[in-house]
Symmetry: C2
Subunit: 109 residues, 2 copies
């Protein structure tokens, strides 16, 4: 099995708007490279590079079928991002608690 890509590769993959758009596009169904590229204002080669970076981050999985390459979305690879965000959830809740306290104090007056 492929080793889980380090968190950095996930963040890096998501840093480009075209790549995020590709992920959105792949929600519907799996696609060949040419299908993914269709609609983007750049060459197929450029899209291919983006797909490679997405693959590096584990966000898509590529399966060969004849001369085609089927690109499939792998939403599970977003977990590192979720985990990282959750660190700030905790902090966020602390702020909310502080706000709640402040409001209660204010209401009591």
């Amino acid at each position: 099995m492929p080793s889980a890509p380090p968190e950095q590769l996930v963040f890096r993959a998501l840093a480009d708007p075209t790549r995020r758009d590709i992920l959105l596009k792949l929600r519907g169904h799996d696609m060949t490279i040419a299908e993914v590229a269709d609609g983007f204002d750049m060459t197929r080669a450029a899209v291919k590079k983006h797909l490679t970076m997405l693959s590096d981050g584990g966000l898509i999985e590529v399966q060969a079928r004849g001369r085609e390459r089927i690109n499939r979305l792998n939403p599970a690879a977003l977990s590192p991002l979720r985990d990282w965000l959750s660190i700030f959830d905790e902090f966020w809740e602390d702020k909310l608690a502080a706000l709640k306290t402040a409001v209660e104090k204010d209401t009591k007056t």
Copy 2:
């Protein structure tokens, strides 16, 4: 009030590991630029550039106090990231539902 930074600036700000570390470091308490830079293996000037990009993404807020600049974490700016992620929550649930259906079908047999 400062206009909400477009989602792209948030993703871009989070793409660098040093910047993510800075955000983690700022969870505890607000810090001057020199304090943030302390512990990183690079010059203060380099850290300052990272802080500027974090500020561009709205992830920190900077307040001048005398000759110092106090950098404060702004976790609310992570919302665009949460929103974007939630799009795939839906997709994820769809996959779970499909799995559930498949399992039920299989059980019924």
